[in-house]
Symmetry: C3
Subunit: 282 residues, 3 copies
């Protein structure tokens, strides 16, 4: 029997985040940095965004989880990411690694692969093109930071990446159905809303909340699946606009953040839809 | 007879943007980077914000249009802008160049002029003080990045800049009435709303949408005029708040983005107000 | 008798900001840069965010107030802050210095102390942990950029910092009750709302508005107290949602900005709550 991960477990972890307010150190891109800070606060945790090589090791040592996001990469940021990530690993602080733009340029891809090998992050989260590309799947085309509409099986992409990396990690592939994989189990999270992928930074923000959950839940597989379900339930409820507010991506982002902020255990228990299956290695 | 550019043409180009989802590579300032990404998505295109010298050439080569914005300039960004802009020109990818802060400091002005000469961007978009200053008009005072209330004729400012640059480009001057000029024609766009200039980044965001339109419409003069009309119609409709929402610059920005997202061809056909005239060279 | 600073004085200064539209030059962190620009516009002033060493001296010379914020610090930013701050002091332009993250890492703390000694800013604004830490109070623990719930008397923290710095400055400590101190007087500002500290960047944004007020009011003690009351009254009115809008930190931020934008002298006169006392040196 596979583990059961449901809304009650999500609610218990979310409650723990809100009670313990873990510090989540981000080294993330300039585009959505403010959004990542906002979602971390809305989820009840504390964000910090220090990025200088000179201080990331000390800052991450004071944190309970870390996010490394490769958007708007640069050589100095790569160096800071390496120092921050290695320190986090040495101290047992979970790192959520978001390989934004993997496959988009040779520079980005090369630095991402080097960082993955160096940091060995606990959780790697991307879309299926990024994860598939990093795992060596053929025929993947990436345009900017967007996955083209490619026919990649998320489980295969996650498996290929873990085989390639050859250490124990949790791989998260976001999409209409989010997938979480850890060699042994696959969780599928069915919550969400069609506006979510149109919110710039929604993927980056998911990494922040996964990190906040991983800060208080040592089974990172469970932490990732419940974080995604929590964000997805908030998105579903945010879209149920009772007033007349015009709800495009911009207003939806605001409401998503605030729905997450007010989300109750009851709502999570009622609406979280997570399915866990055991995976037989091929 | 001058060309007629109207709401039907705007709607046709906008439809093409939404269908083809062109990638628009931005190298823009840190202040409004997130807003530029958001408006690009709301307009149906795909943003990417890679900024490292190491990858901008490859990234822009995969894009169909580019935005270069000189806010929060720095030497490394200037170098990246040069490489990105030259690559774009060599590959025939339109560049919208936004000389934010031209005239504000000697450093900024010098780098902007050097970049203009090096890149020879397809479209140059600024306010009348920036464009007038770059074209050598006397008596222009710039305070920070804001045009002081100067008595500059937009057409003269545009003409002076094109005479100075001496290559074929489209010049856009934003203001209560937006002006687009290409040596041969002047378009005046009468759409907009008084809250728009109070939205931080509305000018930067206009560059993003002009670039998205220029990605699918090879007559950049038409692309710029219709993009501005589209944004202006969205602003007019956004201001017609049917609910009780307090609509200052912050809420208006959200609603403007979402109105743009939902904007229909019918609304554009009904409300776009663009006037094109031939220009006799003086 | 201590000075009386009330809503009428706040309204008079705010009116002056709106009329004179002072340019406020920011060198602030990447996380909330856009929010600082937005609040500056909503308060009726003009923001500029130039950050390159090559231009900050010239840019700040054109400004009437400056904000230096040490979030997302880096060596190049420290250098630019030093040049900007020294130039401002030499030209008599007030600097609001926000020592974000003081105490969080040795690097951050060291650079902040060096900048304070070098710049000698007119106004230093932080939370009580940051100010207490910089003043040498014992037993202060800082986690990321958040003050832990420490038992520090704000007045003592402010006094210790001024004693340490040994020059005339105004110290602002934000909190449920904001405190302003200048060796001679202490002002307590009772306006505000519980959602405000959950708005990422609300502290940074307060610095922007204090700077805008200090640009037009040469008694910086009065400028700081009235700016905080103005922001606090806007927060109180923003929270009085008459519609059904879900008001978590994200929507509240938008409404706070817009309430500030529309704030009237009558509202300030009616609701500002500032108490000034003379301080006997211990």
């Amino acid at each position: 029997m596979p583990d059961i991960i449901d809304g009650r477990i999500a609610a218990a972890i979310y409650e723990k985040v809100r009670r313990e307010k873990p510090l989540v150190h981000h080294l993330t891109n300039f585009v959505t940095m403010g959004d990542c800070a906002a979602v971390t606060v809305s989820a009840g945790a504390l964000p910090v965004m220090a990025q200088a090589e000179e201080e990331v090791e000390e800052m991450v040592s004071a944190a309970r989880a870390a996010v490394i996001n490769t958007g708007t990469l640069s050589p100095s940021r790569v160096r800071a990411m390496g120092r921050m990530g290695v320190t986090a690993r040495e101290k047992g602080i979970p790192v959520v690694f978001d390989p934004v733009g993997a496959g988009a340029t040779r520079y980005r891809t090369g630095e991402i692969l080097a960082l993955l090998r160096k940091i060995r992050p606990s959780i790697i989260k991307g879309n299926k093109a990024e994860i598939g590309f990093l795992g060596g799947l053929h025929g993947i085309k990436i345009r900017g930071i967007e996955a083209l509409n490619i026919d990649v099986d998320p489980l295969e992409a996650a498996q290929r990446l873990l085989d390639f990396l050859d250490y124990e990690a949790v791989v998260v592939i976001t999409g209409p159905v989010d997938v979480v994989y850890d060699f042994r189990r696959i969780a599928r999270v069915f919550n969400g809303n069609a506006l979510l992928p149109l919110v710039v930074g929604s993927g980056c923000m998911a990494a922040s909340v996964i990190a906040a959950f991983a800060a208080v839940e040592e089974d990172f597989f469970t932490a990732a699946a419940t974080a995604l379900a929590t964000l997805g339930v908030a998105a579903e409820l945010a879209a149920e606009s009772k007033d007349n507010l015009l709800l495009g991506p911009a207003a939806f982002k605001i409401r998503w953040l605030d729905t997450l902020f007010f989300l109750t255990a009851e709502q999570l228990v009622k609406s979280a839809r997570i399915k866990v299956d055991e995976v037989t290695q091929g």
